[in-house]
């Protein structure tokens, strides 16, 4: 009598399988939840930054409008015009006028960045009355490099 071997599932096999499946599902669930949460937080931070940038850009446009109106008011007489250019900083404390007729504006964007706008003011009677030379987001916090590790040795 040659009996074929019988394969029996022992007691506890289903428990072990269930524990394995539940552990796998829990790990996957926690990982996907953590990823989704991190993505949402990143989107939120980006949203805050974009809002801050466009708020600063809107303030810059409003100041540029005031500067242009002041330049138009100054007329075409070079002396009056030059005097008006030098007093542009009276419009707002954020306006800085340099000796070379460059007007600089700076608006904070978050804690570490600022929107820098530089205008080159033209001569009296010229149009356009100003040219935007720079409209850029710059870092205002000094970057501190981490030199604690030697990554590559020069031979």
């Amino acid at each position: 009598m040659n009996r074929s071997p019988q394969y029996r599932v022992g007691i506890g096999a289903s428990s072990i399988l269930m524990i394995f499946v539940v552990l796998c599902l829990t790990t996957l669930g926690v990982l996907s939840f953590a990823t989704a949460r991190a993505n949402l937080q990143l989107t939120g931070r980006r949203q805050v930054q974009v809002e801050a940038y466009y708020t600063a850009a809107a303030e810059a446009q409003a100041l540029i409008a005031e500067i242009d109106a002041a330049l138009l008011e100054a007329g075409e007489d070079p002396d009056t015009y030059d005097a008006q250019v030098l007093t542009l900083s009276d419009i707002d404390s954020r306006i800085v006028v340099d000796a070379d007729r460059t007007v600089s504006l700076s608006f904070p964007v978050g804690d570490s960045q600022a929107l820098r706008v530089r205008l080159a003011v033209a001569e009296a009677g010229d149009t356009p009355r100003y040219t935007v030379r720079t409209h850029a987001l710059v870092n205002v916090v000094d970057w501190q490099p981490d030199n604690s590790m030697t990554l590559r040795t020069q031979e």
Partner: protein
């Protein structure tokens, strides 16, 4: 005797395993649902952000008056507000623009306010301003 006890204990074990698995699965399913909801919200918010930036940059580059620009961009006027909808994946976002313009004599300052809603939820509000000197106007 041993033969009858074994199937019984296996049956009891299977019932316990199925019960425990059902409870665990329901908890894990909730975790997956929450992750899916957060992921969907993140996708919608990112799409809204891109739409807002796109709108702001196109408006800044345009020399058209604000109302003409908005009409050309598919916005319909509803009182003081210009509105249009946009698809973001499976969601439909509503873009609403309000604002005012100020003639400074030297040019026109358009100060718009863009708000994006996902049904009842306010996703984003963005100030969008553009100063156009009179010489640059079409």
């Amino acid at each position: 005797m041993n033969g009858t006890r074994r199937p019984n204990s296996m049956l009891v074990e299977l019932v316990i395993v199925i019960l425990f698995f059902a409870i665990s699965a329901s908890v894990i399913l909730q975790l997956f649902v929450a992750a899916g909801a957060r992921s969907a919200q993140s996708t919608t918010d990112t799409a809204a952000l891109l739409m807002a930036e796109d709108f702001a940059e196109r408006f800044a580059a345009s020399k058209l008056p604000a109302d003409s620009f908005l009409e050309a961009d598919g916005f319909a006027q509803d009182g003081d507000t210009y509105m249009r909808t946009a698809e973001a994946g499976k969601r439909t976002l509503t873009l609403a623009v309000t604002g005012e313009n100020e003639d400074t004599g030297a040019g026109v300052l358009d100060a718009l306010h863009l708000a994006i809603h996902d049904q009842e939820r306010a996703v984003l509000t963005l100030p969008v301003s553009r100063y156009l000197p009179r010489e640059d106007m079409p």
